[in-house]
Subunit: 615 residues, 2 copies
């Protein structure tokens, strides 16, 4: 263990000093408290995706209009969201990963555009379309990743590259799709490639220089995982993880191809100075080929952002046999429990269980099925912290196990939920799908698929493939649901206007009454929505913005023009009819209310007549 | 001369029999009189692009909203328009030339989609982006062309191919971009490739069988041009064209590479049973290399649709030295002249003159500069029908002639005007650009560029590259103009609501008061507009629809990622900053008025709550 671990676990001591560290004047955390802006992918560090704005509300949302639109110039899946920092908007497209900056005072002109030069080999190893989940902002810099594994810090004023770092190597199957998280002076980024034998890691780069500060692998020796055998807590047991907690759960050196990639969303607690993220599936998808728990794949990690050292780790799906990546967001909230208000996190896992953990130590507080069709495990044992797997639906090499629920895409994938502190409910865009899963043995070759299973996915009971629900975490209950034909693959936004916003795979963008689930407004955007709405205030007017642009695993058949249902990791057949409803194409769509008696163009605060001199 | 010419010129006799021939019940002409529909690319045979609808009008257009949108799934230039036939909408995208059918009762689902298999070699010879100008409809069939030279008749109900014909060969530089015209049982199509030594032709296919009925070349022997030396009238002289009127205007066999391609819009007069179209530039762009008038390039033709035989031909730019293609639309209207109402056509030519001809015989009635900067000719001599060329701006091999106005893209290119019979004005989206033109000798090689000039284009006086004007054809006067930064490269629509609609290259879609030129409404569509708005009525509600999707010659730098101003036939430098304003990406955008107190979603007549069962 190195010096950098010395203060790693003094979490109860470090609380005060870690909180609210300023980054170039006003801290990012302070900025995120201003509802006029949307300065982080998740809105704020808690990743609540909730806004205190209420100019648009249940009473007037039926009058919502499209204020302006902008094609992104790209066709593939848009899984991100714009940021709004002051008067500026920033967003990133699907590959080729253009980054656009727009001055909201003059949206007809792109302030700057960044187009990274990329290693096109990335296109041959990106498993599930060429998606992107957005940029981060900090200290006058826009932080962006490119599919080919590069991280860029761009001058937020000019788009010029301040520094770039190489975080992943497509030749080894590594790509990048996720939005960075900036904490203090660290830019934290993950890696994709769980289907290519990639050994997952999370890495911090210095915000000012771009130099790598630390890297923490999901598997392997303690030192490389930045785990302290005596201090890092196993959430399941509430005991230290002990020596080589990963190595002993793998056969030989399989951990080197061990997966546990880190392509989801990252949240952060400034008080605890811990950030939270999940790791993905172990490699390969064939469980017979890799005996053991395969730690720390399928795990929620809490780490110190300054050192990378793990405070705790909780593995949700030991020895995964279903591709139930654990990368989904962990939303920070306070759980009312027996008169107490516990600092908790809530995590809708791909495996169909919603986990509520004490975010201080990873202790499991609740785990409930959020889809009644879940059958691979009967329950999560709160004592052991482990799932009670139903042997009938455990997979193994050479056997086609049918009727497993949920499917590999999960009962929810990375499409992020929103937690509304007013209603104390989670609004979750979900999948509702099952699968047949036939594992087989496969040999690793760098840069080639290392999947080891043929999967067929199909709708779960009822025929609808998606649901949008209101969920009460205190009692583990779904309060209402909207059934959708296809997976709800875009994220949610809630506001103090008592509204939840989300989009469907066919392109409907909706505003829903948080109390009743009634759809109050919907608009048909150009393409299917797999991105995440945000809201902001500009010049006294509230706007809601979302990227429309179908793709991703849910739409891989449409995106990659695949037609055999077993292609695209089994995602093709599930949405084979999606092309009857929508087309590829990235567009930013921005909504607002009209002012009484004004022109639609007033939504933009632009005077049509002034355009006579030129546009 | 063959038998098929026997009745070709009995135009005064055939009037009655030719008018209103029914095609499967109600005739296409009758259908085009129903303002609820938009059954032809130009609205009706006159290509007025005017609608009698007035639900949306000057008094309420400020409340216009986007009703729905649909990505076309393609990135290149969209120069077409939807058709509306009954409850169905049909439109075609840029390459790969998808054809979509949408039932307007259920716009969330594509009724059918046709994706032609194409010879990708077409991509290497399409001069100016991979644009398309739309489909035609007749008798339960949707007629579509593909860039690679195929013509398809699709079952309008199912999208199945009823027949296909091969009209062009990309290996010879031939491509197709224009919308077909259907008259009686003939499907009339043109050809592109004037920059590849293509010998232009216009061809009719049998609507029911797809068999070629006739083909008329723009250059060559009389028989192949379907010209009758004794009966085909030369519009300029009002005398018969005489024998081999084309051959004698070319050096040797140069007419075989003679250009005169036919990629514009076609209008038709049912009473005269004549259709009208223009031919493009002669090959090469180097005039020194091809002495003579180079007939019949740069010509407005009137032909019999049943036989193809030419009634008259009027050459606007003999011995072109500027690439002033004559392919622009000829709009049929009645000219008030000395108490008479003459059957006329009006043609805003690329060369900067607006021609008004008697459409019975091609007689030149008026020719006026519609942009005061035009300098290549001082005037069109009404006696000779020929331009009086200013020697200073005539081009020749080896000389860089500077400051020629207009530039090769013309003072107007194929973006079609609208004639409003209420105001008797033409509403014209125009360019406002000049050029330096350096011709050079070039050798022909099949499938390779045969351009022979280096051109640099730039804004004309005032700095704006585009104008939208109201023009009074009776007196040859511009009444008002809107100046736009870039070329106005999309077409116009007028309505009985006293509105003119058009879009800008940066993506503004505008409604303008036809009387004053005041912009009453504008909306920022996802991409730049080079397409043509239409309007229709569905279930009692008027809609206005336009394809947003920048590209074409005006945006070739953006579309093809070219950066040297001399690339893209000189079109790159002119719009080098366009990428600061807009991005590629095809989207159908449909506008409507909200109903009093209703929800925006009511624009679609869809009930949000009904969607709870799935979308």
């Amino acid at each position: 263990m190195s010096i950098r671990m010395n203060c790693a676990f003094a979490i109860y001591v470090c609380l005060v000093s870690a909180s609210g560290v300023a980054v170039g004047g006003e801290s990012l955390e302070q900025m995120s408290q201003d509802p006029n802006q949307w300065v982080m992918p998740g809105g704020d560090y808690s990743v609540n995706r909730h806004s205190k704005l209420n100019q648009i509300n249940v009473d007037n949302v039926t009058h919502l209009q499209v204020a302006w639109t902008m094609s992104t110039g790209t066709l593939r899946g848009h899984e991100g969201q714009p940021l709004v920092v002051g008067d500026m908007m920033y967003f990133e497209t699907a590959y080729p990963n253009y980054v656009y900056a727009i001055n909201l005072d003059n949206v007809e002109r792109v302030a700057w555009k960044f187009a990274p030069k990329q290693n096109e080999f990335a296109l041959s190893v990106a498993c599930c379309d060429f998606v992107n989940r957005g940029v981060a902002y900090a200290d006058g810099k826009v932080l962006a990743i490119a599919l080919d594994g590069h991280v860029y810090a761009l001058n937020a004023k000019t788009g010029e590259v301040i520094w770039q770092a190489t975080n992943a190597d497509p030749e080894l199957g590594q790509t990048m799709t996720s939005a960075p998280l900036v904490v203090h002076d660290k830019v934290i980024v993950g890696v994709s490639g769980g289907e290519y034998g990639v050994r997952g890691h999370i890495t911090a780069y210095d915000l000012n220089s771009g130099k790598q500060v630390w890297r923490a692998y999901s598997t392997g020796p303690d030192e490389e995982m930045l785990m302290d055998p005596e201090k890092t807590i196993d959430g399941a047991t509430q005991k230290p993880v002990g020596k080589e907690s990963s190595l002993k759960t793998w056969d030989g050196e399989q951990w080197k191809l061990g997966g546990g990639t880190t392509w989801g969303w990252y949240s952060y607690d400034p008080n605890l100075n811990l950030f939270y993220y999940g790791s993905g599936n172990p490699g390969t998808w064939n469980p017979t080929q890799r005996p053991g728990d395969n730690k720390w794949s399928m795990t929620i990690f809490a780490r110190n952002p300054d050192t990378g050292v793990a405070a705790w780790a909780y593995q949700m799906t030991p020895h995964d046999g279903w591709d139930y990546d654990g990368i989904n967001e962990s939303v920070l909230f306070n759980l009312d429990s027996g008169g107490e208000s516990l600092p908790a996190l809530i995590h809708f896992d791909r495996n169909g269980f919603v986990y509520i953990l004490d975010r201080r130590n990873g202790k499991l507080l609740r785990a409930d099925k959020y889809d009644p069709t879940v059958n691979w495990a009967s329950r999560i044992n709160l004592e052991t912290g482990r799932p009670e797997v139903n042997a009938q639906w455990m997979t193994e090499a050479g056997k086609n196990v049918k009727g497993i629920c949920p499917a590999a895409e999960g009962d929810k994938n990375m499409q992020p939920v929103s937690y509304d502190p007013q209603t104390k409910r989670v609004y979750a865009p979900l999948n509702h799908i099952c699968m047949d899963y036939q594992a087989f043995s496969i040999k690793y070759k760098a840069g080639f698929p290392f999947v080891g299973a043929v999967v067929e996915m199909y709708p779960a009971e009822g025929g609808n493939r998606g649901r949008f629900i209101s969920y009460d975490p205190a009692v583990g209950k779904t309060e209402w649901e909207i059934k959708d034909m296809f997976q709800d693959w875009g994220g949610a936004l809630t506001t103090d206007g008592s509204l939840a916003f989300y989009g469907t795979l066919t392109g409907w963008f909706r505003a829903v009454d948080v109390h009743t689930g009634k759809i109050l407004y919907q608009f048909r955007t150009p393409s299917g929505i797999i991105a995440n709405p945000i809201t902001y205030m500009h010049a006294g007017k509230q706007y809601v913005a979302v990227l429309s642009g179908v793709g991703g695993w849910a739409a891989i058949g449409l995106a990659a023009d695949l037609h055999k249902s077993s292609e695209g990791l089994g995602g093709v057949g599930l949405t084979a009819s999606l092309g009857d409803y929508t087309n590829l194409g990235g567009t930013l769509v921005v909504f607002a209310l009209p002012q009484a008696g004004d022109q639609t163009t007033a939504l933009l605060r632009s005077s049509p007549s002034s355009d006579k001199k030129g546009d």
